[in-house]
Amino acid sequence: MTNTLHRYGSAESFDDDYIVFATPSNGRNEIGSLPKLKKFLELALPFKPVNIGDPVHGGSLRPEKGLHTSANWNRDMTPNFQAVIDGLTEPASVVAIFDNQSSAEQFLKVAVEADLGLSVNMSTSVQGAVECCKFAGIKRHSVGYSLGFEGATDKLPNSQALALSTMCGHGMISSSLAKKMIDWVKEGRRTPAQAVTYMTRFCSCGVFNPVRAQRILEEARKKME
């Protein structure tokens, strides 16, 4: 999976986007990893992640099946972090998203000290990850660079819709929905905070960053690019 690698934006635009995830390796260390994965997420909570999740069950704000009609007026938009941890039932990559470097690097330091034995990765700007490693007192093992999008790029949407939709690397947030949410925010039909909750629910593994999305929507409200 390269679902967090190819987010669209400049390195500066990732200043509020630090994704830290723990991955069990099939056949190597996945046996007995479930409590370690839960521990990883529990360790993240004091540093106030903006989202957490796993690819089997989703993030901290999920689609709701069988809504009551009254939900159209008083829907619960609160992310539920504990439900993600409690609902983890099998080994899979778990992820915690932070909107600032300080939280990400402090969490990384704690994860190093916890010595869970799982592979831990950080997806953000190259420099952001280097600085977090330095803070945590570790050296990078490997690095995977994104070279961006090539080929038939004329098929891609505008840059803001692209920045929003690529925050679900699995492609579950359509560019049409992202564009619609930009339009609704511009029209004043929804606030950026409300619009973000709709998109967040489509992300199937919890890597969507609602804080970065809200910033992008605020920028798009004033100027569409």
Binding site: L5, R7, T23, P63, L108, S125, R140, Y145, S146, G148
Partner: protein, 284 residues
């Protein structure tokens, strides 16, 4: 995937939810309809939309009444009010669409949810990409464009001709009938998927050659290509080899995924095998 016409009220919410833009309200029947040719069975509609269980007849009448008065509807945009989506029992080869498009569909071949393998994410325990090597993830179709598998074969043929090694555990490699030539199964060529990742590994000295090759072949493929380049850092945690090559080729590297090197092999059977095969790596 199908939309139950008895339930659909043509609210149109799902037309925005579809990453492929394959859902539309058919004016002839006044129901949301799926273009099956373009649908990649990603289940974004079924999994991503919240649902209500309203009475379809009542909702249709309310909608008609509002339309007559030119009143704007303002429903929650991520809700299917009548839970009209119903998954099909997918058969081969159409089931390939779902395997490469729905992130919750596990690839039985790798045990990994999603389209690829663990690549550099678990390089600290697998040692898949060693110093002096470069792992490429060549992803087709994302974001939001999709790709016909027959188009990817143009790339796998070219890569095979260049003598590269395809990652054995990658789900897409398992669609090949001949890994030496990069030839794919005939019966899957006309399937469309949300995205597929071809993974290869070469010596670092071939980095530029492979990038240029991918760049050349992607002109023949009618979709977007996202290229990822992974490498092992040196003992100081630095990469002084691959990043300079990429910069020399004109790439401005904005983002990366960094493996922190905290993983260990702990499965008893794997530990024994590791010790037997690679005592140096095991003692790391």
């Amino acid at each position: 995937m199908r939309i139950n016409p008895d339930k659909c009220v043509a609210c149109g919410n799902c037309t925005y939810a579809c990453p492929m833009g394959a859902i539309y309200v058919d004016p002839a029947i006044k129901r949301a309809t799926i273009n099956r040719d373009e649908c990649v069975e990603c289940y974004a509609c079924y999994n991503g939309l919240s649902t209500e269980h309203l009475n379809p007849s009542i909702v249709r009448n309310i909608r008609k009444f509002f339309q007559m008065g030119r009143l704007r509807f303002d429903p929650e945009p991520d809700v299917c009010p009548t839970a009209a989506f119903e998954p099909d029992e997918l058969q081969w080869p159409r089931v390939v669409r779902r395997a490469f498009s729905d992130p919750r569909a596990t690839h039985e071949s790798t045990g990994v949810q999603g389209r690829g393998t663990e690549e550099v994410k678990t390089n600290d325990v697998t040692g898949r990409v060693k110093q002096g090597e470069v792992g490429f993830t060549i992803e087709f179709g994302r974001p939001g464009v999709g790709v016909w598998i027959r188009d990817i074969q143009k790339m796998t043929w070219a890569l095979a001709k260049a003598g590269v090694a395809f990652e054995k555990k990658n789900p897409f490699t398992l669609l090949m009938t001949d890994v030496a030539t990069g030839t794919l199964r005939e019966d899957v060529l006309n399937e469309k998927v949300l995205s597929a990742i071809v993974e290869i590994k070469v010596g670092v000295e071939r980095t530029e050659e492979i990038i240029r090759l991918v760049h050349e072949i992607e002109k023949e493929v009618d979709t977007v290509v996202s290229l990822g380049v992974g490498t092992r850092c040196d003992e100081n945690g630095e990469d002084k080899i691959v990043a300079p090559i990429l910069e020399r080729l004109g790439y401005k590297i904005e983002r990366a995924k960094t493996n922190m090197g905290l993983g260990r092999v702990t499965n008893p059977a794997a530990e024994k095998a590791e010790a037997k095969q690679d005592p140096v790596e095991q003692s790391r």
